[in-house]
Amino acid sequence: MAATEYIVRTKDVMKEFKMGQEVLRALNGVSVDIKRGEYISIMGPSGSGKSTLFNAIGGLDKPDSGSVFINDVDMAQLDSNELAFLRCHTIGYIFQTFNLITVMTALENVRLPTIFAGMNSDEGTDRGIELLELVGLGHRLHHKPSELSGGQQQRVAIARALANNPSIILADEPTGNLDSKTGTEIIELLRRLNKESGVTVISATHDYKMLDVSDRIIWIRDGKIDKIENRADLDIQLGGMAGQEGH
């Protein structure tokens, strides 16, 4: 197998936080391999360390020990500009709180990463319009985030994450601030993008709706991997449980 089959690999990732006198070990030796084009959900109760893992994979925070490889590049070896380049071109981020720049319109928000990538103004605008149409917001180009609903804001954030054609989309509780119906729409949108453009989706969540669409689910508990399940296995499990109820 080619080494590039794995787009993200983590090895014994450890991260500690100091809370006053106590040291909290948020991640305690996490190793996962994620294949190109997979749709992964990282599941776990709050405080289990899933957001910390998310931050480590995204290069937003440095682990205390262990390493994270993106496309076989060790993130710890990158300086801040190389990290910025990686974030700009390889990874698209989606957040629970959307994190749109409130003073900019939807189009300007989506254009922002193209500026960092050095794309010129016209190209960036075209790209922004194309992406906003892709997420179904072609009629909301010049609205500010405050004039958009939660679901629409998250769509803008998804369009923004896609701006530079990343190979990974990292989503931290993308449905956490949305009602159930809107959440389903966002999940379906992510799944569609994953299927159509082959972008790897890694999403930290505790929304069970995510289970249905994931290829694999990584369960995290107390900073360690509890279990990794394939969806195929999960279906059998659920089927088994349904069968038991029938008896």
Partner: protein, 182 residues
């Protein structure tokens, strides 16, 4: 980038005005005193030294004020900075964003401050010798170089006050910047 900076200034107009007013007052005092210093050639060395001391002190105070205001402006935008870093903004971009803002605020406020100081000097003279001669007298001593100097000092002070907070914000890990609640 310049567009983003101007946009940021427009949205936070009143905050920028507070920063600006610190610079305006500092530079106004500088312009006023330096005019007087040159025109009152008769003043003793001791008096001159005291004047210079006063100007330096007032500039120091206004610098501290600008640093304070800039720290606030950077802190309230931690999330924005974190988001930009997530989207791939290099540290240098974040710093230059604040520097561009500082240059805009600094130059506008310095010109305003110089004008205020100049008018102040003219008025003071006018009380003694009337408007016509006052304009001539102040105009004769207050050269273009002096005006340019005042504006330059203003911009310089703003830049010095901006760079430290901006560098600090840009060097933060993106996750830490995003976690902050303001």
């Amino acid at each position: 980038m310049v567009k983003i900076a101007i946009n940021g200034l427009k949205i936070r107009f009143w905050r920028s005005m507070v920063t600006a007013s610190g610079i305006i007052l500092g530079i106004a005092f500088l312009a006023y005193v330096s005019t007087n210093l040159i025109s009152s050639g008769a003043a003793t060395a001791d008096q001159r030294a005291r004047m210079i001391w006063l100007v330096v002190m007032s500039l120091l105070v206004s610098t501290v004020g600008i640093v304070n205001s800039m720290l606030m402006s950077v802190t309230e935008r931690f999330r924005e900075i974190g988001t930009m870093k997530c989207l791939g903004a290099p540290d240098g971009f974040v710093v230059s964003l604040f520097v561009v803002e500082a240059v805009f605020v600094g130059s506008a406020a310095s010109v305003g401050g110089w004008f205020l100081g100049y008018v102040g000097a003219v008025f003071q003279k006018a009380c003694a010798i009337g408007f016509g001669p006052a304009f001539a007298s102040v105009g004769a001593t207050h050269s273009a170089e002096l005006a340019g100097g005042c504006v330059l000092v203003g911009i310089l002070i703003t830049l010095i006050a901006t760079i430290a907070p901006a560098e600090r914000a840009a060097a933060m890990p993106a996750a830490a910047a995003l976690r902050t609640e303001v």
